[in-house]
């Protein structure tokens, strides 16, 4: 397997390259577009990624809620001391701690979810060019050796500034 990266200045050229690869019979999951700034979703005709991000905060909230309920209930019952005339199980005070811990847990799991759904950390990021963060748009494709030249031709034909191989 080899990787190719085509660098483009004009977003329309990058979109044409993506179209060309699609028409060339390459599978959707083998090519992608790299940009230094978010573009509108689908601007390059790329496959819109599906995600399950919202499960993470929901799961985190359940964990946080359960943990905080256990913590607040158990600690109050462990040493049942009356403070300020409040009942041993002071639900309204517990609610505040439980709320904070539920939210904290939801946030932590959301961040884990964002990093996971972004497929990070990416230890071997593959072929890349630092000019992508300078405004160039990269179209990257992983191909078998037999299809290498075909893919390279498509990228060149679309008006690439440079093509890198790995």
């Amino acid at each position: 397997m080899k990787s190719l990266l085509g660098l483009y200045l004009d977003p329309n050229d990058a979109a044409n390259a993506m179209d060309g690869l699609k028409e060339g019979g390459f599978e959707q999951g083998t090519f992608d577009v790299l940009t230094g700034t978010p573009y509108p979703e689908g601007a390059f005709g790329e496959h819109v990624p599906q995600h399950r991000l919202f499960r993470f905060p929901a799961f985190g909230a359940i964990i946080g809620f359960s943990l905080s309920l256990f913590l607040t209930t158990a600690t109050q019952l462990a040493y049942p001391l009356i403070t300020g005339g409040k009942p041993i199980l002071s639900i309204f005070a517990m609610l505040i701690i439980m709320y904070e811990m539920t939210m904290l847990s939801a946030v932590i799991f959301s961040v884990i979810g964002i990093i996971f759904e972004s497929r990070l950390p990416n230890i071997s990021p593959g072929v890349y060019d630092s000019r992508i963060t300078e405004g160039y748009i990269g179209v990257v494709i992983s191909v078998e050796d037999s299809e290498f030249n075909k893919a390279k031709k498509i990228l060149e034909k679309s008006g690439s500034e440079e093509i890198k191989e790995a």
């Binding site: 509108p40 979703e41 689908g42 601007a43 390059f44 005709g45 300020g84 005339g85 309204f92 505040i96």
Partner: protein
Amino acid sequence: MSTNEEHHYWPPSDPKVVKEELISSTSKGGKTLKKAIWALSLLSILGIVGLLGKLFLESDDQTQWGYIAAILAFILSTTSGAPMVAVAPLIAKANWARPISRIAHIIGVVGIINIVIMIPLLWVLPPLIVDGARRRSIWFEAPNYSPHFWDTLGLVMLALVGLALLYSSALPDFATIRDNSKGTKQKIAKLLARGFVGSTVQWSTLRMRIGVMSTFYFFTLIFVHFLISVDLSMSMVPGWRDAIYPMAHAMGGIQGGIASVIILAWIVRKYCGYENYITLNQFWALGRLMFAASLMWIYFFYSAFIVFWYGKSMSDTAWLDLLIRGPMMYMFILGMLFSFIFPWWWLIWNKVRNSVNGPFYGAILAILGVLFERLRLYVPAWSVDPKLIHDKWLTVIPKTIFPDIWDILVFVGAISSVFLIIIIVSRIVPFIGIWEIHQFNLLAKPVKYIKAHGVRVAKPD
């Protein structure tokens, strides 16, 4: 519940088609609407009968008037907050609110009903000084009948400003109707349009007028919520000192206002065939606002509750006994469920907010929540024995008072009057602003960015 097609609904680009479709709402309805008007008028008259019956038969017993005060607060809370749904997005230059801002303004006009209900309450509301002693109120050393005068003035001002706001926002549409109709309708439109022809000066004056009226309406609304909440409930209970209460009451009013806009928008969309104008975008945005409003409700409630629960002083405990675990315990549970728990758990789901029916059902829940809350706050406040008003704190918790036939008639009459006024106004004012849709089309256009579909929204200063 949502489909991609729903998002593709867009107002017609031809101004002529927009004009004809939107003007048609002023004459739609036919025989069904006529029957509805008759029925609503009859029920409204029954409401007046209820008020008069209560006034002649129970004016000497203050404790029986809690439901009337609660109805006034309920109508105030569900209708007067509606124009804020148009005002706030206007300040934020949000395009999505344009199709529903007229609906919000129309609902705001219903404040006239509050003045009618206030009249008998004026008789029964105790003066500041009773038996030589001045009770606690926000009027301190003011003349004896201060609450009566200022509260009525506030309600009158709110109704007038609401009317002025509606008139300002509908002015260009009156001109459009004047130019595209005949007979009596044209005469009325001509009178109301006052020579509006759409010159640059007229448009900039109009925008300034709407801006000023909107700001004035907002301040008047907060002021009226402050007056009504304190004078008609807090002041009636000895020892009830709750600084957050006026703001919580106003917040409930905003929640009710958003809910009523959602409900009327849904009805107008369905029965006037305005799917191209009131689209999923409007309900999605309103659903988020509704969700935020229910969170604000619990925040304000909890802020008050936790202070009283921790404080445990005699007046703190009396507040809890009167309004939480006393005569209105079940009403409190219902209020909590319908103002917060149900709308929150319903609207938290993306699929629900991102639909037309989802926010509608959420709004119905919220409106019921506002009703239960107003009953919970006003009925026990009025049922406190007037002889106890000068005590340091409430020592005798009154028993639960149930509504009588007059209360039920007033309630039915008030709700009917709301719908009656809206229908009557809609015969003259289109439900959706024609000029606002023209502006919507001017400022927002579906476009493509390379291959991505979206909307290009202009943000002029």
